[in-house]
């Protein structure tokens, strides 16, 4: 029995006792775990206290997160520009019509999808391999865990700078290794039309390895060990044990982390901004970089907001697929 399972169970028990103790259920809303709140006046006081507890966080959230999101969607239907004098006009879906014909935007959208898939998929398999290794009793395990912290704790800007040093055409270690191995003179990876996107994708994979590995490791530690041993005794090989025992237990975690990774990658900005600023010739211009430039270099607030809306729409579709998949996964279990 592993510690995580244990704590989950405790949590479950805590929750269920809390609901049991909440007394006769009222017509409205939140119940809580404390005894002795039956009277109307008592409950009103408790509701007041609840609001008092919630509002300090709720108000900033509404003003600085939910509000701007709605405002941003609204801006997408206007011709808002930065620093201009005449007032902003409502222009309906014009921004979206323009977007439809903006080949540069669709190029960046395509690059965004390529990048998100290119990072998420290999990263998943690499992280799965590492998680499987870390789940074994190997000697250098602690070192791997310690090292895995580095990409996680680093500012993305520093990750970008660090890899620029690695990729540097003259003083970088990559070209020196290429030369040592006799594979030619090396090249300028980040400015080559063909190599820029793969080079940037490699950095993305490196940067996201820890989170993915930790999540998968958690899933692995949740697979019942007895089943493994039983399968091994029955003579099942490693691959078969993985397919029949490990994978079914791992699937929900794998699905969650992959969906989240895809979304995070699709929305990413800092890494590529530092590595290539979207170059060469827009080959690594992710949608976020494109929208950033449109808004804060050219001042096209309304148009950039429309781009944001399109990105949200695509992400929502992905989230919906993920939720549907998760529900199906739940039925399987």
């Amino acid at each position: 029995m592993n510690p995580i399972q244990g704590s989950e169970e405790v949590e479950f028990v805590t929750l269920s006792t809390a609901t049991k103790r909440s007394g006769p259920s009222g017509a409205r809303g939140p119940r809580d775990g404390r005894a002795g709140g039956g009277t109307g006046a008592g409950r009103a006081a408790r509701d007041r206290a609840t609001w008092f507890l919630v509002l300090p966080a709720l108000i900033p959230i509404l003003i600085l997160s939910v509000g701007p999101l709605l405002y941003g969607i609204m801006l997408a239907f206007t011709d808002a520009q930065s620093g201009r004098t005449r007032s902003t006009q409502w222009i309906g879906a014009l921004n979206f019509q323009d977007l439809l014909h903006d080949t540069l935007f669709w190029d960046s959208f395509r690059i965004g999808l390529l990048w998100a898939v290119g990072v998420t998929v290999p990263q998943f398999f690499l992280a799965l391999g590492l998680a499987l290794l870390l789940n074994q009793k190997l000697r250098m395990r602690w070192l791997a865990r310690a090292l895995a912290i580095i990409p996680w704790a680093m500012p993305e800007v520093v990750v970008g700078i660090m890899w620029r040093l690695v990729y540097n055409p003259d003083a970088g270690i990559l070209n020196e290794t290429v030369r040592d191995l006799g594979l030619g003179d090396g090249r300028d990876w980040l400015t080559g039309l063909a190599t820029a996107l793969p080079a940037v994708i490699l950095v993305g994979i490196w940067a996201g390895m820890p989170q993915t590995t930790v999540a998968l490791l958690a899933g692995l530690q949740n697979t019942p060990h007895e089943l493994h041993e039983a399968a091994a005794l029955d003579g099942a090989g490693a691959w078969r044990r993985f397919r029949t025992v490990t994978w079914p237990a791992l699937k929900p975690v794998a699905l969650s982390i992959t969906a989240l990774n895809f979304i995070w990658n699709f929305n990413s900005f800092a890494l590529v901004y530092v590595l290539t600023s979207g170059g060469p010739g827009g080959r690594t211009r992710l949608p976020m970089l494109f929208a950033y430039e449109e808004a804060f270099r050219y001042g096209q607030f309304g148009y950039a907001a429309a781009m944001g809306c399109v990105m949200v729409a695509v992400i929502s579709v992905i989230l919906a697929c993920y939720l549907a998949g998760r529900l199906r996964g739940g039925e399987d279990a």
Binding site: S7, E8, E11, T14, L15, T17, P30, R31, D32, G33, R34, L53, V54, P56, A57, L58, P60, L64, S65, P68, L69, G72, A80, L130, L133, Q136, L138, M140, A144, A148, A153, M154, P155, E156, V157, V158, I161, W163, R164, L165, D170, A171, I173, E176, V214, A215, L217, A218, Q221, H225, L260, W264, N267, F269, A291, A295, A305, G308, V312, I315
Partner: protein, 279 residues
């Protein structure tokens, strides 16, 4: 524990693990190596892993070239204020989310998940306009407000988990003694939560310390900018950078978050594991 694994399989596993270790470590080792190399070695066409004549010149030069101290101070102020405010306002709400099972906490949890997904570009333009009207562009306070709200989802998520680990019986005892909800939170629950609150605050600190996008958009003048933004100034207009000082400054900027992350790492991964298992 380990299943029957023969010698060759074991050897293969070690080889694979070694490959992973190299992959994870080499860029960071290269950063450190570059940071300590004198200019002459950086100019050489055959770079070496270990600097032949290690020097601290790059660090000195980095401080000369860019206002690093000012930037670090800005980052520190923004990250400390954001972390403190975030945990102070998140703890009560996390308590309600963990203990009440109602529409409010469902909505809050839903928001926590959704807020992870939307692209910041859709939020930053309106935020920019709002903060501009409040005259908070190019001020640390504007940035702090954004960081507080931005770190709230994860803070709520973490803290709610810690609250659930506190046995409700303790609260009932206090309730019987006539303590109200706020009293119970302050004098019974909060002390038990202290380690969780500290871990959450440190995580919020690290996130703010590392953040780039909001700082890039909201801070205009160099004396207001945070460390990640100032670091990009080292890259120069055409990306022809002074490699040594660039590496030195980047290395320094990473240290605080690396150290803090090492401290809270177990709690973060633990919390993430719990979350991952739940989902």
């Amino acid at each position: 524990m380990s299943l029957r694994t023969g010698g060759p399989a074991r050897a293969g596993q070690y080889a694979a693990l070694l490959a992973y270790l190299i992959f994870l470590a080499f860029p960071f080792l290269w950063l450190i190596s570059t940071a300590f190399k004198p200019a002459r070695e950086l100019g050489s066409l055959h770079p070496t892993w270990i600097p032949r004549n290690p020097t601290l010149d790059n660090f000195r030069q980095a401080f000369d070239e860019q206002p690093l101290l000012q930037a670090a101070a800005n980052s520190l102020i923004a990250a400390v204020c954001a972390a403190l405010i975030a945990v102070v306002i998140a703890t009560p709400m996390a308590y309600v989310m963990a203990r009440n099972r109602g529409r409010l906490s469902t909505a809050a949890t839903g928001w926590v998940v959704v807020s992870q997904a939307f692209p910041f570009v859709l939020v930053i333009i309106p935020l920019f306009l709002i903060l501009k009207n409040l005259h908070l562009i190019n001020t640390l306070w504007g940035l702090i407000m954004v960081y507080v709200v931005w770190s709230l989802p994860f803070a709520l998520w973490m803290l709610a988990g810690y609250v659930r680990a506190v046995p409700p019986e303790l609260e009932e005892a206090a309730s019987v003694d006539g303590a109200g909800r706020v009293r119970i939170l302050v004098s019974v629950v909060a002390p038990l939560l202290a380690p969780g609150i500290v871990a959450t605050a440190l995580f919020a600190f690290i996130t703010a310390w590392n953040e780039f996008f909001f700082a890039l958009v909201l801070l205009k003048t160099p004396e207001k900018q945070t460390l990640p933004v100032v670091l990009t100034h080292f890259l120069g207009a055409e990306g022809v950078a002074d490699l040594g000082p660039l590496a030195a400054a980047a290395f320094l900027a990473t240290l605080p978050s690396l150290v803090l992350f090492a401290v809270i790492q177990k709690r973060i991964t633990g919390g993430m594991m719990a979350g991952a298992v739940k989902s």
